[in-house]
Symmetry: C2
DNA sequence: ACGAAACCTGAATCAGTTGTCATATTTTGA
DNA sequence: TCAAAATATGACAACTGATTCAGGTTTCGT
């Protein structure tokens, strides 16, 4: 009747105490990213992860209580990385519209370079929905701040920025899925140009037509 | 190294020959939708499906070769239904922009009424990616036709319609996720209004400001 | 009414998984 | 240098859940 599983069991593992431990833990996390990314969370067994990491099965449990745990940590980790990457790309953009296109370009590049992102994130949704929502809500909060700022400064049209944030996240998400992850058959600059035009003028004809 | 599994085994099951069989098959498919929708594909066992359907475990295999098969059929089924629903909603819209808002409204309503849609579809992505892509590509093809039509007729700005299709699908998808599936805390009309404004004018300020 | 075909049953099988543990090795710090 | 702490091993216990199958029940066509 219920999907949520609480960690009533599985004693939380301790952080590594030595450099070797830290290295091993990192190797396992990286291996998990690869395994989940290529095989999928369910298909990938702990044995796949440890094989990729080059450690024994038991070692996994020195650092992670469960396979699920690993996924949670991975999602948080990836979230930080994407946000940092985008924040850096957008840092000194000239105006909100420029920031949008710079951000989209950086995102498309990031997706192409890190194809595991989508898969891990999307599958996390069904393993622990809260971690998935957390990812997008954190993302959305930062986005909202920038958009609201721009609205206040009169850089963009007034409007409901919370709704716009989700519209824009969806837009980026699908463009990334189709044109960066699945098929890179359309030049990035075409995508940027199209989205730029869309954000500048919408779909409507120029008033002066 | 590879995720794709071909059906080398699993002899395809035959279609039901009698009314009773057809009924049972339909019961199972409906039960699968409920089970996958509430528990998720992996969490839901064949036993959950048969229990919900009120049949024995073995009966499941009279109509479906594998659990995966059921998911595939469900996705196709749901795809037809959504597209039919949206096509009907948009049928006699006055111009493309009106069609967009009508379509979005109908979509949000549909998602709220059929919460299984997202879950089943999204999980299908990891069970059989081709069926997932097929869903969006079919959706996109229809969308593209309408958009290209409108562009040709001079109803909307010229631009790369393939890219715009994916941008618009993403936009709808995320608005549906956030405002219809997760939380219905924002009036639908606000969403429609915001998107309508976005498609009419973009984010830029009015030229005459 | 009756044989054949279709349909249904559910316990048993079976492949594959997670997580444990007793033991071995490496690192640390005094 | 050497004992304690930390880390690593890998075989395997315990479990899960999909699929099969031999045999019963219902429906169909004549």
């Amino acid at each position: 009747m219920n999907t949520i599983k609480h960690n009533t069991k599985s004693p939380a593992r301790e952080a590594p105490k030595t450099a070797r431990g830290a290295r091993t833990r990192a190797k396992i996390l990286k291996a998990a990213e690869d395994a989940f990314g290529s095989l999928g969370y369910h298909q990938a067994g702990v044995s796949d992860i440890t094989r990729l990491a080059g450690v024994a099965q038991g070692t996994f449990y020195t650092y992670f209580a469960t396979k699920e745990d690993t996924l949670r940590e991975l999602v948080r980790d990836m979230g930080h990385k994407v946000r940092a990457h985008l924040a850096a790309a957008v840092k000194d953009a000239d105006g909100r519209l420029a920031a949008e296109t710079l951000g989209l370009k950086a995102f498309l590049q990031y997706v192409a370079d890190n194809p595991s992102l989508y898969r891990v994130l999307q599958e996390a949704q069904f393993v622990d929905e809260s971690i998935y929502r957390e990812y997008y809500e954190a993302f959305g909060r930062g986005y909202l701040r920038m958009l609201a700022d721009a609205t206040r400064k009169g850089e963009i049209r007034p409007g409901n920025d919370e709704i716009r944030v989700w519209a824009l996240m969806g837009l980026s998400n699908f463009l990334g899925l189709r044109f960066a992850l699945w098929e890179q058959d359309v030049p990035v600059d075409d995508i940027i140009a199209t989205v730029s035009d869309l954000l500048q003028h919408g779909l409507a004809l120029d008033p002066k037509s």
